[in-house]
C-alpha cells in the first residue's frame, strides 16, 4: 500500500476547510432555525425582577403589580388568584405593538399557570370591581399618560406557595418582568 504525502498547500487547505466549518455550521443552523435560535437565547435570559408595588419601565409603559389576591375556588382544594396590575403608558406605539402580553403565575416549585379563559362566577360575586377590568390583550386607544388597570385570574391548588407573576411582551428585552 502506498502512502500519499500531502503538500504543504494541501495541508493548509485542509485545516482552513475545518476552520471554515466551525463558522459555517453554526451559521447554517442559525439561518435554518428561522428565528428559533434567537427565541431560545431569549428564553434562557433571566427575567427582570420587580418588587411588588414598584414600577418598572418595559415596552413603552411603567408596569406595576398592584395586588395578588387569593379567593376560595369552586373546585375542591383549589383557589382563585386574582392578579391586578397596571401600565402607565409613555410610548403608545411601542406599547400597542407589543400587545398582547403573556401573563403567567409561577409557584416555588416552578409550576406555571396560564390565566383562566373566563372570569368565574365566584370572582364576579366577590370582586365585581376586578372582574370588570380588561385583560392584557389589546389597547389600540392607549394614549401617552393613560394608566390602564388590568386583571387576570388563575385557578391554582391550595398548596401552591411563593407565587410570582411574570409578564412578557413579544419582541421586548428583557424577555419578561417577574413580580415577586
Amino acid at each position: 500500500m502506498t502512502t500519499i504525502e500531502a503538500s504543504p498547500r494541501g495541508r493548509r487547505a485542509y485545516w482552513l476547510s475545518l476552520a471554515v466549518l466551525v463558522v459555517a455550521l453554526p451559521a447554517a443552523m442559525y439561518v435554518h432555525s428561522d428565528g428559533g435560535v434567537v427565541d431560545l437565547i431569549q428564553e434562557t435570559q433571566a427575567p427582570l425582577e420587580v418588587q411588588r408595588g414598584e414600577a418598572q419601565t418595559y415596552s413603552g409603559a411603567e408596569w406595576r403589580l398592584t395586588a395578588l389576591t387569593r379567593l376560595p375556588g369552586e373546585l375542591p382544594e383549589t383557589e382563585f388568584v386574582l392578579a391586578e396590575f397596571e401600565a402607565a403608558v409613555s410610548d403608545p406605539a411601542q406599547f400597542q405593538a407589543a400587545m398582547p402580553c403573556q401573563v403567567r403565575l409561577t409557584d416555588g416549585e416552578g409550576r406555571r399557570w396560564a390565566p383562566a379563559f373566563l372570569v368565574e362566577r365566584v370572582i364576579r360575586a366577590a370582586r365585581p370591581d376586578v372582574s370588570e377590568k380588561p385583560r392584557c390583550l389589546n389597547f389600540a386607544e392607549a394614549r401617552t399618560g393613560d394608566t390602564i388597570a388590568m386583571a387576570e385570574s388563575f385557578v391554582v391548588p391550595k398548596e401552591a406557595k411563593d407565587l410570582t407573576l411574570s409578564l412578557s411582551l413579544k419582541g421586548e428585552q428583557p424577555e419578561s418582568l417577574l413580580f415577586d
Binding site: P76, A114, A116, V156, P157
Partner: protein, 197 residues
C-alpha cells in the same frame, strides 16, 4: 491486487450502506410523530406534560344525550365506547384536544364528532398543574375493535413531537354492552352524569 480488492469491498460496502439508508429513511410524519409514553388501564400514566388515569370504560348500543338543549338518541351500527378518565397538567397549564381509539388491527378511531360538545370532553377545559380534572371521551367503533385496543391521548393531533399517552385497554368488558347509556349534564366537580339501562 490486495489494494484493488479492498477498494471493491469498500465501494460495495458504501453502496450497501447507502441503499439501506435510502430504504429506511423515515418520512416527515414519522420524524415529527408524538413522543409516546406507554401505560396500562387502571394505572396512572405520566408523560412529561400531563398525567392520565382511566377510571371506567362503558360500552353501549345507543347513547341518550342532550342536543341543543333537548334529549336526543344517538344510535350506531357498531358500539359506543365511553371512557371516563382523570387528567392533570404536570408543570404548565394546557389543553388536551386529541384522543384516538387504536384498534387491535391498527385502525385509528377519532373521538365521535356527534358528541364532541358534551361537558368534560377533550378541548372543553384548560387543565391546571396540581388540579386533577375528569375527562370524558366517546368513540364509535366496530365490535371487533374493542378487545386489545389502545387509547391514545395527546395535547394536539397536529403539533410535531407532542406528548402522547398510550394506554393499553386491558380491562374492557366486551360482554357487557348496555342497550342505552344516558349522559346528563352534571355539576360541581363532575361535569357529566352517566346512567346505564
Amino acid at each position: 491486487m490486495t489494494g484493488a480488492i479492498r477498494t471493491i469491498v469498500a465501494v460495495l460496502a458504501a453502496a450497501a450502506a447507502l441503499y439501506a439508508m435510502q430504504r429506511t429513511t423515515p418520512v416527515y410524519s414519522e420524524i415529527t410523530s408524538p413522543v409516546r409514553t406507554n401505560g396500562q388501564q387502571g394505572k396512572r400514566v405520566e408523560t412529561r406534560n400531563f398525567a392520565i388515569g382511566i377510571a371506567k370504560v362503558h360500552l353501549a348500543r345507543s347513547i341518550d344525550a342532550p342536543k341543543s338543549g333537548r334529549p336526543h338518541s344517538y344510535t350506531t351500527s357498531g358500539v359506543w365506547v365511553i371512557v371516563e378518565a382523570a387528567v392533570q397538567a404536570t408543570n404548565e397549564s394546557l389543553s388536551l384536544t386529541a384522543a384516538e381509539w387504536l384498534g387491535p388491527d391498527g385502525t385509528r378511531y377519532s373521538m365521535s364528532q356527534r358528541l364532541s360538545t358534551l361537558p368534560g370532553t377533550p378541548g372543553t377545559e384548560q387543565l391546571e398543574p396540581g388540579v386533577p380534572r375528569p375527562m370524558l371521551m366517546i368513540f364509535e367503533v366496530p365490535e371487533s375493535q374493542l378487545s386489545g385496543a389502545t387509547l391514545l391521548v395527546s395535547q394536539s393531533a397536529y403539533t410535531p413531537l407532542s406528548e402522547e399517552a398510550a394506554v393499553a385497554m386491558t380491562e374492557v368488558q366486551t360482554d357487557d354492552i348496555r342497550p342505552v347509556i344516558t349522559i346528563k349534564r352534571g355539576g360541581g366537580t363532575l361535569p357529566w352524569v352517566l346512567e346505564a339501562e
